[in-house]
């Protein structure tokens, strides 16, 4: 079997190979792909389901939002957190960034023989704690075991159902909108890497994994004078980091984005660790952060609400959407020039001559 005829790790890395896999082998082979305004083809954080108009005949009705995610992470326990908290937070956040309150979760676990029961229980307790935090019940589940050489660690899939008055898309960005990032970047990816590979950065950096619904629900009600939602787009910068998420938003929305390096919240320990390893912090995964795009006139209001929440204390307005350079993300650097923020490829390709 030739090398390009089988699944490679790049197929899950978020770059072009993964996009091609999804486009050519998944989207092309599924015929019925939508049950409401947002379907599989949209490749948003989740999808929506149309429910027939409510009995009382009011025109506007809430929408059901559904999302699913399988979580694999090496190692399953990492600084301050574990795969259980991640599995619940990831799905809650996918609902939250679509503007949906989580109604219920399901949970399917695949675990290899030999996995310690004590660890297993710890993971389930963490799932519960995260779910309790945002008041979402876990209402159905499935557990499978496989032989020890079939899998080397635990896999948790969660599916979430939510409900939204106004579904918020990752494609709704308009020129002029301000872009709020709800906290520091890179904490999760760097702390995980340090922990997994035993790098000694001599810091107490921990993962940021957290369910964000309580923070996001506080800004969703902001309306303009006409009663329209002030939030135009949201996304969580997980795999592919801030760079990946912003590029996707710019492309889907058909706007440009400018962010300001000076305004990016980043911990000193993360930026030095990134520099020492030669990693771009913009490309590092986060699990407890959201990108929230707001009409400019409501940006300060939204920011202060977010900052009032414990997961949003370091929130900042990091940039804005623009008319020009549509589909591209630029960063105004500290020295004053403008640099392209590229879509992460997952590969390290030097370019300095």
């Amino acid at each position: 079997m030739s090398k390009d005829k089988v699944i490679r790790m790049e197929h899950g890395a978020g770059g072009e190979p993964m996009q091609a896999l999804i486009r050519d082998l998944i989207l092309n082979n599924i015929t019925n792909k939508s049950a409401g305004p947002v379907g599989l083809d949209d490749l948003d954080d989740g999808a929506t389901i149309n429910i027939a108009n409510t009995m009382d005949g009011s025109k506007k009705c809430d929408e059901i939002v559904i999302t699913t995610d399988s979580h694999v992470i090496k190692p399953p326990f990492f600084p301050d957190s574990n795969i259980g908290r991640l599995a619940v937070s990831g799905t809650v956040n996918d609902l939250a960034v679509m503007g949906a309150a989580p109604l219920a979760l399901t949970c399917a676990i695949v675990v290899p023989e030999g996995f310690e029961l004590e660890s297993f229980e710890k993971i389930i307790k963490s799932m519960n704690a995260a779910a309790e935090e945002v008041g979402v019940p876990i209402i159905a589940g499935d557990t499978k075991t496989v032989e020890r050489n079939g899998l080397d660690s635990i896999i948790i899939n969660t599916t979430g159902i939510g409900i939204a008055g106004d579904v918020i898309r990752d494609s709704g960005l308009c020129p002029g909108d301000k872009i709020i990032l709800t906290g520091t970047i890179g904490d999760h990816g760097i702390s995980l890497l340090a922990h997994r590979e035993g790098f000694d950065f001599s810091t107490d950096l921990v993962s940021d994994v957290a369910p964000l619904w309580n923070m996001i629900r506080a800004v969703i009600p902001i309306r303009n004078v006409e009663g329209k939602p002030a939030i135009s787009a949201m996304k969580d910068p997980t795999r592919g980091g801030l760079a990946g998420a912003l590029n996707e938003m710019a492309q889907k929305s058909g706007t440009g984005i400018i962010i300001h390096q000076r305004d990016l919240p980043i911990k000193e320990s993360v930026s030095s660790a990134c520099e020492m390893l030669g990693i771009d912090p913009l490309e590092v995964a986060n699990e407890g952060k959201a990108i929230i795009c707001v009409k400019a006139e409501h940006a300060e209001e939204a920011l202060s609400i977010i900052r009032n929440h414990k997961y949003g204390r370091d929130a900042a307005i990091i940039g804005e959407a623009t008319d020009g350079h549509s589909g591209k993300v630029l960063m105004k650097t500290i020295i004053g020039s403008m640099r392209y923020v590229d879509i992460p490829t997952g590969d390290l390709i030097p370019r300095i001559c």
Binding site: D200, L277, Y340, L348, C353
Partner: protein, 758 residues
């Protein structure tokens, strides 16, 4: 006697160089009637007269042509006699099929200088004095033909005196498109940062010279962009400029009043002197004198300095009014951004850098940085080919399809070509930056317009993340041709040496980095190359770069990578090296190397030199391109004794780990300068050995060298020596930069020839 008529079409650099007036003169001299006119970007001549007179005319045309002109082709056709009664210069007409191009900018000529210094002439003290033989050209043209209305001079209608000169066939300004005088032309003004005009005209010069003599930094608008200028003997001013530009060490160029002054601070030979004085007025990189009277801040830790002499009237007048004989003169741009060319832009972008602004009021249409040339082993090597040379035509050894090469990323240029002609753009810069990327796109458009070539094939780099690559793909679509970086270098070398279409050479490409074929980064390659393809026959050992580009920025990281397999962990930790984050960074880099995290492999030659610079405690941080290797070269210059370091080549791979190890072994027993010299020497010998054995195996008798490392005089000299000793022909660059400024030419050739048309 029989009257005959000829239609003569001349192509080449024939517009904006006084060509039509010249034709007028020789036609009258030879008693011919008819006309001359610009047609598109050719010149069309119809002459009527006796056969001998027409022949004499053609002889004069070829041998007496104006100094700025360049004739590529003269086509003569028999024409029906129409009975002209005189010879006239007709106005231009548009023609879409032409293939000539406008001339490059040229320094003010001695005649114009004389007028400028003649108190009775109306051009007295007027810095914009120019004639058909001199002055700015490419920098102020917006479209063809080269007539006043297509240049920045459109804004300045000629006064009655100038109009008279323009029509006077005996005047050197007869039909000079850029002609002007104080009554009708642009004016200088000196302002502060608030736009307050402090002086204008000649007073602006006097005041400006005074300010520079003091310790002010003045942004001076020139032919084709702004310079930042300060007094070169002042440490304080130079350091102030360094800090303001955030360039801790990058060498600044200087401008000296004249060649005599240059001799007071640099050593100079006849070739260098004639280069300095040439009408292109490039920056020439010269060795500093042992006694160096200028500020050491100009080129810190380097043995050489970039020098030019005045080329515009403004420069001459400034020195006339200045106590200082040497100015620091560096392109006015923020790091990574294109040079400033516009007055408002200058005032807003340079506000934290310049104290004053010496402005003029015509618009610069094409931004052109100064050309930089170094004489390497008796031959001219273009470090940057721009003002004075662009957009001169490069003749190709064979015909290609209409194509464009968009260049790589860092020191990119663009080349557009069709049939036997290629036009390399001015220096563009680093297209990683948005502003420079926009400029790159604009240069592509301008070049298409000026050459009237519509490219069908788009040559670009293999690097998937270069904006130039993406741009080529977006526009070129099916016509995109990916060209491996080092193949492009070697092809540019083949064009530069006018090798015929079916040539096959062994090409050595030594540089910082280029995307290879297998996802590794190349940079020390021996290729068996033709115009259409190549095979990698040998290379430097592939070495890990911990953290990718971080290893290029901090050479100590690269060194740890190279010595990782040769030294014990304890020895590695004891190496006296600099790390930004100190010991903890060193340990993390060692950890990275151990665990294979975030590493990428490179066979780059520049990284070997960088590593040696780190090991010898010569350079620890790259604040500008090539810094560690350039500083290594400067230290090596002082060497008096070569240590013959053993070189190991196995199966086409030069073992650079053992090379660095040999250096490490001798650190305590030899002088740093000798060690620096020896590593350059050993690298050169090793590379030559690889190339020679490839050439022998493949039965090829020409070996060539390209890539940025070829600017290193010692390395180039040693390779040349070894190759020639082994009985092979050795070729290097002549008119094309060996660095990345030449890559677009290689790309255009490979793309334009990609369908097998020749």
């Amino acid at each position: 006697m029989q009257i005959q008529c000829r239609m003569i079409n001349v192509s080449g650099v024939v517009q904006g160089v006084g060509f039509r007036p010249f034709i007028y003169h020789i036609a009258i001299e030879n008693g011919l009637c008819g006309y001359v006119k610009n047609a598109g970007n050719d010149v069309e001549i119809v002459t009527e007269g006796e056969k001998e007179d027409i022949d004499r005319f053609l002889h004069d045309l070829y041998f007496k042509k104006p100094p700025l002109s360049l004739i590529d082709q003269i086509k003569t056709n028999v024409f029906r006699v129409s009975g002209f009664s005189d010879f006239s210069i007709l106005t231009s007409e548009q023609d879409e099929t032409a293939n000539s191009i406008i001339p490059p900018d040229s320094a003010i000529c001695s005649d114009c200088l004389r007028d400028m210094y003649d108190s009775k002439d109306r051009h007295y003290h007027y810095p914009f004095t120019s004639c058909t033989n001199c002055g700015p050209r490419y920098s102020l043209v917006s479209s063809l033909p080269f007539d006043r209305e297509n240049t920045s001079m459109l804004e300045f209608p000629m006064c009655s005196e100038c109009s008279l000169d323009y029509k006077m066939s005996s005047d050197k300004r007869f039909h000079a498109q850029t002609m002007c005088c104080p009554n009708c032309g642009p004016v200088l003004s000196l302002t502060n940062g608030n736009c307050d005009v402090l002086a204008s005209g000649h007073d602006a010069i006097i005041k400006c010279a005074e300010l520079i003599d003091g310790e002010s930094i003045v942004a001076v608008k020139g032919y084709s962009g702004f310079h930042l200028v300060c007094n070169a003997t002042s440490d304080r001013a130079t350091l102030k400029l360094r800090n303001a530009l955030n360039r801790p060490a990058q060498p600044f160029a200087v401008m000296a009043k004249d060649v005599e002054t240059v001799c007071s601070f640099a050593s100079i030979n006849a070739d260098e002197s004639s280069l300095l004085l040439s009408r292109q007025r490039p920056i020439v990189v010269l060795d500093k004198s042992d006694e160096f009277p200028l500020s050491e801040q100009i080129t810190p830790d380097l043995h050489n300095i970039g020098v030019m002499i005045p080329y515009s009237g403004t420069h001459h007048l400034l020195f006339d009014n200045s106590d200082a004989d040497v100015y620091v003169m560096t392109s006015a741009n923020l790091p990574g951004l294109p040079m400033v060319i516009d007055n408002e832009e200058a005032l807003s972008h340079l506000d934290k850098i310049a104290d004053y602004y010496l402005l003029h009021n015509y618009a610069i249409k094409n931004r052109i940085d100064d050309t930089v040339i170094r004489i390497v082993n008796g031959r001219m090597a273009f470090i940057r080919r721009s003002r004075g040379f662009v957009p001169e035509r490069i003749e190709l050894p064979f015909s290609i399809e209409p194509a464009i090469g968009v260049g790589p990323e860092l020191n990119t240029t663009v080349t557009i070509a069709k049939k036997n002609s290629a036009y390399i753009s001015q220096y563009i810069g680093n297209t990683r930056h948005f502003e420079t990327d926009q400029y790159h796109k604009q240069v592509v458009l301008n070049l298409e317009q000026l050459t009237k070539i519509t490219p069908r094939l788009w040559g670009c780099d293999l690097h998937p993340e270069f904006n130039t690559t993406r741009f080529a793909q977006d526009i070129g679509g099916e016509g995109t041709v990916f060209v491996q970086h080092h193949h492009a270098h070697i092809v540019s070398l083949m064009v530069d040496n006018f090798l015929p279409v079916d040539s096959r050479i062994i090409g050595i490409a030594l540089d910082g980095s280029g995307y290879g074929e297998n996802g590794t980064i190349w940079g020390g390659e021996v290729l068996e190359a033709t115009y259409s393809g190549y095979e990698r026959t040998a290379h430097l050992m592939e070495q890990p770069m911990p953290g990718g580009d971080m290893a290029a920025t901090y050479p100590s990281r690269m060194l740890l990578g190279m010595l990782h397999d040769a030294l014990e962990p304890k020895e590695l930790r004891e190496l006296p090296l600099y790390f930004k984050y100190g010991e903890s960074e060193r340990d993390i880099v060692l950890d990275q190397l151990e665990k294979g995290i975030n590493l990428v492999k490179t066979s780059s030659a520049a990284r070997v030199l960088d590593s040696a610079a780190a090991l010898l405690w010569i350079s620890h941080y790259r604040s500008y391109q090539g810094e560690p290797a350039m500083k290594l070269e400067s230290v090596a210059k002082k060497s008096i004794h070569n240590i013959d370091l053993p070189v190991v080549c196995k199966r086409g791979v030069l073992d650079t780990t053992s090379l660095l190890y040999e250096l490490y072994e001798r650190i305590d027993t030899h002088a740093v300068c000798d060690l620096a010299y020896s590593i350059e020497d050993a690298l050169a010998r090793g590379v030559a050995e690889l190339a020679i054995s490839s050439a022998k195996k493949r039965n090829i008798d020409v070996i060539g060298l390209s890539g940025g490392v070829a600017y290193n005089e010692h390395i180039t000299g040693r390779i040349s020596e070894a190759v020639k000793d082994a009985g092979f022909e050795f070729i290097t660059h002549k008119k094309i930069p060996c660095g990345d400024g030449g890559v677009s030419l290689g790309q255009v050739m490979v793309a334009g020839d990609s369908e097998g048309i020749s």
